[in-house]
Symmetry: C2
Subunit: 252 residues, 2 copies
């Protein structure tokens, strides 16, 4: 909880104190819950596509491999939404979670670095449906500058400062090499960008006013290899146990 | 814990029982720890690049924004590695975590769907350094078939079955549309693929013998928008509180 003091602009005296936290830190939702919300949102979206308008917490729980009580707990953080004996109203819940996720707002986005990943993201029309509107793309490569992706022109990095300030960009998607990303991110923050979606395999850190999501695709691949390896070890262990038991049986 | 029985191939009698779990479920590492391992691995790799060979758990903790006790707990799952008063040997820890993650093995990988994301992943040379070797790429688009990316030819999807069986592919990277992914994944599993890295914005589910990592890039973007929105609400709340206090002060 942070306490801040209020100073009178005229007499310069402290006129009161405010507590940030009554609605922020005190009611702060854990990061684990926040990370699950997009999944709820996706699943509910899939149900809507299939015209399913009502779902019990048990069904939702089976579909999502999360316990029904977990779902109730998660959604209680935001005031519930379920009705005893009725279950959840899919459309209502979908829109409410959308609002919680801030998807009822519109965000102005630029992509910095227009390689394969940058182009893939620019082509992803689903983002736009959720309010993430890509308004500009930037690169230093002369072969890419002037090209358009879905009608959006790729501009020279030199034009970025003016563009960001003029259009008051909210979020920058960073798909630049890791040697460049720190300086570029610092510039963007100085120019007023408050959200960074970073694909550059370096964890960016700024003051807590700046929101950063660092994406590390290779982490997911390493988790996959861990699990594959674990399965193999278990299999080898089973095989070994089995053949030892066999040997013992025949040697009796 | 699973108990399995051992049957004699000759006399058909049950010759013993084995317990899977002595080394698997009992010693099972929590998914939260597993998910942190790639981060440790990345950070240690960055230290090595800077020729830093020794690090205290306090320094590692600051760098990673994880408590020192958390780091000790995490690494104790795999037998420790730290020495009181010395800290961690970066190179040793890097290689040991690499082994735990299965990065000392080589995996044969195919990419199914050679759009922007598929091409971006094919171009990512770091994967290969960690043992993930892309040996084939497949698509149905005639414009892409025959093209090469880093020397790897894009083949017709029709050739995939033979290829997967012949080269005993371990992992398939799926970057196909979500309407196609379930059938393609099922085929691959039938042909012996045991790991699926799925980018198709549908959660795949198979028996527990198949390892799946579902990547949902938009989840990360929605988390970003949640946090941006939360910050804005806190700011509005602060501003409101401040102006109320101001008003009260002047109205006294």
């Amino acid at each position: 909880m942070t306490i801040f003091s209020l100073k009178c602009y005229t007499c310069d005296r402290i006129s009161g104190e405010g507590i940030v936290g009554e609605m922020s830190e005190d009611k702060k939702i854990s990061i684990a819950v926040i990370k699950r919300l997009p999944r709820y949102y996706r699943y509910l979206g899939e149900l809507l596509e299939k015209d399913i308008l009502r779902i019990s917490s048990r069904e939702l729980s089976e579909k999502m491999s999360v316990t029904a009580s977990q779902i109730r707990q998660d959604l209680n953080n935001f005031g519930g939404f379920g009705q005893q004996g009725y279950g959840y109203n899919v459309e209502y819940l979908y829109h409410e979670i959308g609002k919680i996720l801030g998807l009822d707002k519109t965000y102005k986005i630029i992509i910095v670095g227009v390689g394969n990943i940058g182009q893939a993201l620019a082509n992803y029309t689903n983002f736009e449906k959720r309010g993430f509107v890509i308004v500009g793309m930037f690169d230093i490569n002369p072969r890419l500058i002037g090209m358009t992706v879905r009608g959006i022109e790729v501009r020279d990095l030199d034009e970025m400062e003016q563009f960001v300030k003029k259009f008051e960009i909210d979020i920058a998607i960073l798909t630049v090499p890791k040697t460049k990303v720190v300086n570029i991110a610092q510039d963007l923050v100085n120019w007023g960008v408050s959200g960074l979606w970073n694909f550059s395999s370096v964890d960016l850190k700024f003051s807590k006013d700046i929101v950063i999501e660092n994406v590390h695709l290779s982490d997911s691949l390493m988790t996959l290899s861990y699990k594959l390896n674990e399965k193999k070890q278990i299999k080898n262990y089973k095989d070994e146990k089995r053949s030892t038991a066999m040997r013992n049986h025949y040697n009796k």
